[in-house]
C-alpha cells in the first residue's frame, strides 16, 4: 500500500497582510501623485504604470529591478511626463514595486489574484477619492464665485436659462463637457471667468509659497 500523503491546509487570512498592503497602496498613491494623467475618465489612464506592475507581479516571474525598469519606461513614454519623474515619485515607485514582489512571493499562490485585485481597486479608490475631493473643492469655489455674481439663484437660473437651478445643484464647471458647449453665453462667460480667476489665484498662491 502506498503511504498516504497528508497535508495541513489552513485558510489564508487576508488580515495578516493588511499592513503590507497598506504600505503598497500608500507607496503607489504617492507615486501616482506625481504621474501626469492623460484623462481622468478611464481606470487605465488613472492607474498609469501601477496597473502594469500589479499585472506582472501577479505572475511571480519578474524581479524588482526589471519591473521598476519597465514601469519607469511606461512613465517616460507618457508624453505629458516629458521623460521626467521626481525623486519622491521614483522612490515611492521603487518601494511599492519591491513590496509587492515580496508580498506575491510570500502569500499562497491561490491568494495572489485576490490580493492583487484588492490592491488594484484600493489604489484606484484612493486616486478617485482624491480627484473627487479636488473637483468638489473647485465646484465649491465656483459656487462662491457665482454667488458674488448673482444676488440669488433665481437670477442665476434666469441668466443661464436653466429652470430649477440653485446654488446647491451647480455642477463642476467643465469647459469640455457637452453641457458647456450647448450652454448660453452667460454660462460660458461665468465658467471662463471663474477659471481665469481660479488660475490667477492659484498662481499667486504658488508664487507666495
Amino acid at each position: 500500500m502506498r503511504k498516504p500523503i497528508t497535508i495541513q491546509s489552513s485558510r489564508f487570512d487576508l488580515e495578516s497582510i493588511k499592513p503590507k498592503m497598506e504600505t503598497i497602496i500608500n507607496a503607489f498613491d504617492t507615486y501616482l501623485d506625481g504621474y501626469p494623467v492623460k484623462t481622468a475618465r478611464s481606470k487605465h489612464a488613472i492607474m498609469g504604470p501601477v496597473a502594469k506592475i500589479l499585472e506582472r507581479a501577479q505572475t511571480r516571474h519578474w524581479d524588482v529591478d526589471s519591473l521598476i525598469g519597465y514601469a519607469l519606461r511606461v512613465h517616460e513614454m507618457n508624453p505629458r511626463s516629458h521623460g521626467f519623474i521626481s525623486p519622491e515619485a521614483r522612490a515611492a515607485l521603487e518601494l511599492g514595486t519591491k513590496e509587492i514582489i515580496d508580498l506575491c512571493q510570500k502569500i499562497p499562490i491561490t491568494a495572489v489574484a485576490k490580493v492583487i485585485d484588492r490592491l488594484d481597486y484600493s489604489i484606484y479608490y484612493r486616486r478617485r477619492v482624491k480627484a473627487l475631493v479636488h473637483m468638489e473643492k473647485i465646484r465649491s469655489a465656483f459656487v462662491i464665485y457665482l454667488k458674488e455674481q448673482y444676488s440669488n439663484h433665481n437670477a442665476l437660473a434666469l441668466a443661464w436659462g436653466e429652470k430649477g437651478l440653485t446654488f446647491e445643484n451647480i455642477r463642476y464647471p467643465s469647459q469640455r463637457s457637452d453641457s458647456y458647449k450647448k450652454a448660453k453665453d452667460s454660462k460660458k462667460n461665468d465658467t471662463d471667468g471663474f477659471w481665469n480667476q481660479y488660475q490667477t489665484s492659484k498662481e499667486e498662491e504658488e508664487s507666495e509659497e
Binding site: K43, R118, Y121, S122, L132
Partner: protein, 907 residues
C-alpha cells in the same frame, strides 16, 4: 423625600449625554449596554427602598444613605465608559483593565453631588471602588476604613449593598437572578417569588400580563423582568401569598376575552374559495351565520371569471350546458359565460351554507343527548359493567344518529321547500368551487324561482333577472332562515358555537411553569417518551397521542392544520413516518388558538413577526419606559392606518430601506425617540399614486353619493363651493362622515397592515401583514432590510430584536445582542455571526443605509442589489461600478460619503 422619578429622568439624560447607550457593560453570557445595566440597578434599588420604606426593623436607611446608594449605583460602573475598558471587553486589548477608576469618579462626582446637595463623597467612593470582588481585598477595605474619611459609620454596609445589587443585576436570566438574590445579605429582609413561562408568541404576552397582574394584586412588587418571567419582591411583614394557578387562569380568561372583544370573527371564519370555506370551525358561531354568508359573497368578484382566457370560459360554459337540466341549449356559450360570471358570489354563499350544515362543522359522533334521555339509558344499560358499557355506548351512538338524521331531514325539507325537489342532493354533490357544476347544481335552482314569490319584481318574473345585489341579499336571507330553523332543532349545546375564552385560556395556561403545583420530573419524562413513541404513525391523523410539530409539546387529540393558518401543512415532516400516507399534520390546540388569535388581531396571516425582548433583565422603571415608547409608536401607526388619519398619503413600511436611511441620515439610532421611530417608518406616496387614489376616491363618491358637489354637501352638511374643494377636504380629514371616510380608506389603501402587541415589558410583538422584501428580491436582500430595521428598533428601544418566520420557535431569551441576523446562510456569513452586538450595530446600520442609497447608482439587479454592494471586495469596486453605470462616467461627491460608511464592513 427623594423624588425617584425626577432622579431617574436626570440620570437617564446624564447617561445618554455620556454615550452610555453605545458603551458595553456586559458581554460575557449576555450583552447589555452601560445605560441599561445602570438603569437596572437603579430600578432594583428604588424597588428595595419602597419595600423597606415601611419596614423600620431593617437597616433604617436614612435619607442621606438612600442618596449615597443611588449615586453609588449610578456611578458603580463609571470606569466602563473609558475607551481602554471598552477595547478590553471587546477583546481588542490584551491584559486586564479595571473599571474602578477613582480619579474619573472624583471628577464626575463634582457634577452629580449637587443633585442631592451631598457634600461628603467618601462613602460613594468606597461603594464604587469596593463593588468588584477583585478590588474588595482585606487590605483595600482596611485602607478605606483608615483613610476613607467616612462620616457614616455604616459605609461598609452601604458598599456591600451596592455590590450585592450589582451581582443580582449582572446575573444571567431569571434563575441566575434568583440565585444571586439568595446570596445577598439582605435576603432575610425580603420575600421573593417569581413567575415563569415558556416562550411561544402572542399567548406568552397575555400570560405574562395575567401572571403579573395577579402578583401585583397580592401585593408583590416587580423587581426584575426577563423575557420568560419576573422576579417579585415584597416585605416579609406583608406576608404576601403567591397567586394560585387558578387565579392566573381566571385573569387570563378575562384578558383573552378583552382581546377578542370587537374583533371581526366573520373575516376569519370564512375562508378562501380555492381552499377551505370554513377553515376555523372553532371560531364559527351559528348566531352569526347571516354575516358569514354575506362575507362569503365578498370573497370573489364577478370580474374574475371574465378575466380567464376565452378558451377556458368556453370550456366551462359548454360543460355547464351539458350538466344543466334547465339551461337553454340554444344559447350561445358567451351568454352562459356571462351568467356564470354573474353567479360567482352566489356560488360561494351556497358553499358556506353547505359546509356549515355538514359533518365538517357538526360532528354527529360528538352530539350530546339530553340529560333525561342519558339518565334513562344509564338506568337501563348499567354502564358500570363492561357489557353494560358496550350497550350504553351503542345506545348513545343510536341516539346521536337519530339527532343527526332528524337534523338532515329537516334541512332537506326546508331547503327543498324553497329550491325544489332534489335540490339538496345536488347541493351536497358539489365540492370545491367548480363554476360549471355549481351553476348547474345550485344556481340554476335559485335563479329559476319566480321573483314574485319573494315579493320582488323582475321582468321576466324570475330571480335571475333581479339586480345582483338584490339577488345576493335574497339568497343570504333564504339560506339564513333555513339555517335558523335547522339549528333551532338542535339543543343549545349541540349548535356550533365559538370556542370560549376559557377554552383558549385552558390551553394558554399550559405555558405557565411557575407558580405551578410541583409535577414529578419522572412523570413529565414519561409523558414525553410516550408521546414520542406513539406519535409518529399518528402525525397526520386526528386523535391519539401526538407530539406537536410546531411546539414539540405532547398532546392528545388535536386537529388537522389548514393552510389558512399554517404554511405548508401537507409538507414533509420528520414527525411522520417515512413514506406514510400524505395528509395534513395535526397540531396542538395551543398552537392553533395562538394562530387564530394572531389572525384575529391582525386581520390575516402575518408575513413576519418581530419580537422585541429586553436585553436580559429590565427593571420596572425601564420596563415602563420601554412599554411607553412602544405604545407611542403604535398610537401613531394606528392613526395612520385608520380611516381617521389626517393625511392618508402617509403609509407605513418597514421594508423601504432607502427611504428610512434618508430620514435617518445624521442621527444615531440609539438616540431616536418614539416619535422619531414612527416618522422613520412612514413614507409619503408619490404624486402619481396620490393622483390615482384621488381619482379612485372621486369615482367611489360619484358612484355611491352623487356626481355633484351639492350631493356631497347635503350628506356631509357642509357648504363647499366646488367638487374639488369638497374632495380635498375629505382627503385632508376635514369631513368626518362615516361612509365617505370608508371610501377614502378604500381608495387610499388604508389597511391594518401591522399590529404592535405590548402587554408587559417582557416581550413586545410586531406582527406584519406584508413581507419586508420588495418585489421578487432574494431572501438575502430581504434579510438585509429586515436586519436593518431590527437593528434600528433594537437600538432605539434598548432591546433585543429578532424576526420570526411562520412556525419558528423562540429559541433566545434576550441579551444575545441588538438584533438577530435573519436565518439566511449568505447573510449570516456576511455578518459573521447570528447576532449583531451593540458595538457592531451602528456600523452595520450605516453600511446598509449607505448601500441602500447607492442602489440606483450601482444599478445591480433588483434581486440582490444590497447584497452585491455589501459583498464587493473593496470600495474601489463599488466606485468603479458607479462610474461605469453613470452617463458622465464619474461618481458624485456624496457617493464617497456612502462608500466610507460601507468600507468598514467589506471583507
Amino acid at each position: 423625600m427623594i423624588n425617584f422619578d425626577i432622579f431617574r429622568t436626570k440620570a437617564i439624560q446624564w447617561m445618554i449625554t455620556r454615550g452610555w447607550k453605545e458603551k458595553l457593560a456586559k458581554r460575557k453570557g449576555f450583552e447589555q449596554s452601560l445605560f441599561e445595566h445602570t438603569l437596572c440597578e437603579l430600578d432594583a434599588l428604588i424597588t428595595f427602598f419602597s419595600i423597606w420604606a415601611d419596614f423600620s426593623a431593617y437597616n433604617r436607611l436614612t435619607l442621606d444613605e438612600q442618596k449615597i446608594l443611588l449615586v453609588a449605583a449610578l456611578l458603580h460602573d463609571l470606569g466602563k465608559e473609558t475607551d481602554a475598558w471598552q477595547k478590553y471587553i471587546l477583546g481588542k486589548q490584551s491584559g486586564y483593565v479595571s473599571h474602578c477608576d477613582e480619579s474619573l469618579l472624583k471628577e464626575v462626582l463634582s457634577e452629580i453631588l449637587p443633585w442631592f446637595s451631598l457634600e461628603n463623597s467618601a462613602e460613594i467612593i468606597s461603594a464604587v471602588m469596593l463593588h468588584m470582588r477583585s478590588a474588595s481585598t482585606p487590605g483595600y477595605v482596611f485602607a478605606q476604613a483608615a483613610l476613607g474619611h467616612h462620616s457614616n459609620p455604616r459605609w461598609k454596609m452601604l458598599a456591600d449593598l451596592v455590590a450585592q445589587i450589582d451581582n443580582f443585576c449582572s446575573a444571567k436570566g431569571l434563575f441566575g437572578g434568583l440565585t444571586a438574590l439568595e446570596r445577598c445579605d439582605f435576603i432575610q429582609n425580603l420575600s421573593i417569588d417569581y413567575h415563569q413561562v415558556n416562550l411561544r408568541g402572542l399567548s406568552t404576552t397575555l400570560l405574562h400580563k395575567a401572571a403579573m397582574e395577579c402578583f401585583l394584586e397580592k401585593g408583590w412588587l416587580p423587581l426584575m423582568h426577563y423575557a420568560n418571567g419576573t422576579i417579585y419582591a415584597a416585605s416579609p411583614q406583608d406576608n404576601c401569598a403567591s397567586p394560585t394557578r387558578q387565579e392566573i387562569h381566571n385573569r387570563l380568561t378575562e384578558i383573552v376575552q378583552e382581546t377578542l372583544l370587537g374583533r371581526e370573527f366573520h373575516q376569519q371564519v370564512v375562508g378562501s374559495p380555492v381552499a377551505s370555506m370554513l377553515p376555523k370551525p372553532d371560531l364559527f358561531d351559528y348566531r352569526e351565520f347571516r354575516l358569514y354568508l354575506k362575507t362569503a359573497a365578498g370573497r370573489i368578484g364577478r370580474a374574475s371569471f371574465k378575466k380567464k382566457s376565452e378558451a377556458e370560459q368556453q370550456r366551462v360554459a359548454e360543460e355547464y350546458m351539458r350538466l344543466s337540466k334547465t339551461a337553454d341549449a340554444g344559447k350561445e356559450w358567451q351568454l352562459q359565460a356571462i351568467r356564470i360570471a354573474e353567479a360567482r358570489p352566489e356560488m360561494l354563499i351556497f358553499k358556506v351554507f353547505k359546509t356549515a350544515l355538514s359533518e365538517k362543522l357538526i360532528d354527529p359522533a360528538k352530539l350530546k343527548i339530553d340529560q333525561e334521555a342519558d339518565r334513562l339509558l344509564q338506568e337501563s344499560c348499567h354502564p358500570e359493567t363492561p357489557q353494560g358499557e358496550k350497550k350504553y355506548l351503542a345506545e348513545i351512538k343510536k341516539a346521536q344518529k337519530k339527532i343527526w338524521d332528524g337534523f338532515q331531514t329537516l334541512l332537506a325539507r326546508e331547503y327543498e321547500q324553497i329550491f325544489g325537489q332534489g335540490s339538496l342532493a345536488d347541493l351536497l354533490n358539489t365540492s370545491t368551487l367548480m363554476p360549471a357544476k355549481d351553476m348547474a347544481r345550485t344556481i340554476d335552482y335559485f335563479w329559476a324561482l319566480p321573483a314574485s314569490r319573494f315579493d320582488r319584481q323582475a321582468i321576466p318574473d324570475q330571480v335571475e333577472f333581479l339586480r345582483s345585489e338584490d339577488r345576493e341579499n335574497l339568497l343570504v336571507e333564504l339560506l339564513a332562515q333555513i339555517a335558523e330553523k335547522v339549528f333551532a332543532s338542535l339543543s343549545e349545546d349541540n349548535r356550533p358555537s365559538r370556542l370560549s375564552p376559557e377554552t383558549v385560556a385552558d390551553q394558554f395556561i399550559k405555558d405557565l411553569t411557575h407558580p405551578l403545583p410541583a409535577i414529578p420530573f419522572q412523570q413529565v419524562v414519561n409523558e414525553q417518551l410516550k408521546a414520542y413513541t406513539q406519535s409518529k404513525p399518528l402525525a397526520r391523523k386526528e386523535g391519539g397521542q401526538h407530539l406537536c410539530p410546531q411546539c414539540n409539546w405532547p398532546f392528545y387529540g388535536g386537529s388537522s392544520a389548514k393552510a389558512d393558518f399554517l404554511n405548508n401543512p401537507e409538507a414533509h415532516t420528520n414527525r411522520a413516518a417515512a413514506h406514510s400516507r400524505p395528509g395534513y399534520i395535526v397540531i396542538c390546540d395551543h398552537c392553533r388558538y395562538e394562530r387564530f388569535l394572531e389572525q384575529l388581531i391582525l386581520g390575516g396571516k402575518p408575513a413576519k413577526t418581530l419580537v422585541l425582548f429586553p436585553r436580559m433583565g429590565i427593571g420596572p422603571g425601564a420596563g415602563s419606559l420601554l412599554q411607553e415608547k412602544a405604545k407611542q409608536i403604535w398610537t401613531k401607526f394606528a392613526l395612520y392606518m385608520s380611516d381617521r388619519t389626517p393625511d392618508p398619503s402617509l403609509n407605513i413600511s418597514f421594508g423601504l430601506t432607502s427611504e428610512i436611511a434618508k430620514k435617518l441620515a445624521g442621527q444615531e439610532a440609539w438616540g431616536l425617540s418614539a416619535e422619531a421611530v414612527a416618522d422613520l417608518l412612514t413614507y409619503r406616496t408619490s404624486k402619481e399614486t396620490e393622483k390615482k387614489r384621488r381619482k379612485a376616491l372621486e369615482n367611489l363618491l360619484k358612484e355611491n353619493i352623487g356626481s355633484q358637489v351639492e350631493d356631497l354637501n347635503s350628506l356631509w352638511m357642509t357648504e363647499y363651493p366646488t367638487w374639488d374643494e369638497a374632495v380635498d377636504a375629505l382627503i385632508q380629514g376635514q369631513v368626518m362622515e362615516g361612509e365617505s371616510l370608508r371610501y377614502r380608506a378604500e381608495s387610499f389603501s388604508l389597511t391594518h397592515s401591522l399590529e404592535i402587541i405590548c402587554q408587559t415589558p417582557h416581550m413586545i410583538l410586531v406582527s406584519l401583514q406584508n413581507p419586508l422584501g420588495i418585489g421578487k428580491e432574494s431572501d438575502t436582500n430581504a434579510g438585509l432590510r429586515e436586519l436593518f430595521i431590527l437593528m434600528i428598533l433594537g437600538l432605539a428601544l434598548d432591546c433585543t430584536a429578532a424576526s420570526l418566520a411562520d412556525g419558528e420557535v423562540i429559541s433566545f431569551e434576550g441579551g444575545e445582542g441588538v438584533a438577530r441576523v435573519p436565518g439566511v446562510s449568505a447573510l449570516r456569513n456576511l455578518i459573521g455571526s447570528e447576532w449583531v452586538g451593540i458595538s457592531e450595530a451602528t456600523r452595520w446600520i450605516r453600511a446598509i443605509a449607505s448601500a441602500s442609497q447607492l442602489i440606483i447608482a450601482t444599478d445591480y439587479p433588483d434581486r440582490s442589489n444590497l447584497y452585491q454592494i455589501l459583498t464587493a471586495l473593496t470600495a474601489g469596486h463599488i466606485l468603479r461600478r458607479i462610474e461605469q453605470k453613470s452617463e458622465a462616467g464619474t461618481a458624485a461627491i456624496y457617493h464617497l460619503e456612502h462608500l466610507k460608511n460601507i468600507e468598514p464592513v467589506l471583507k
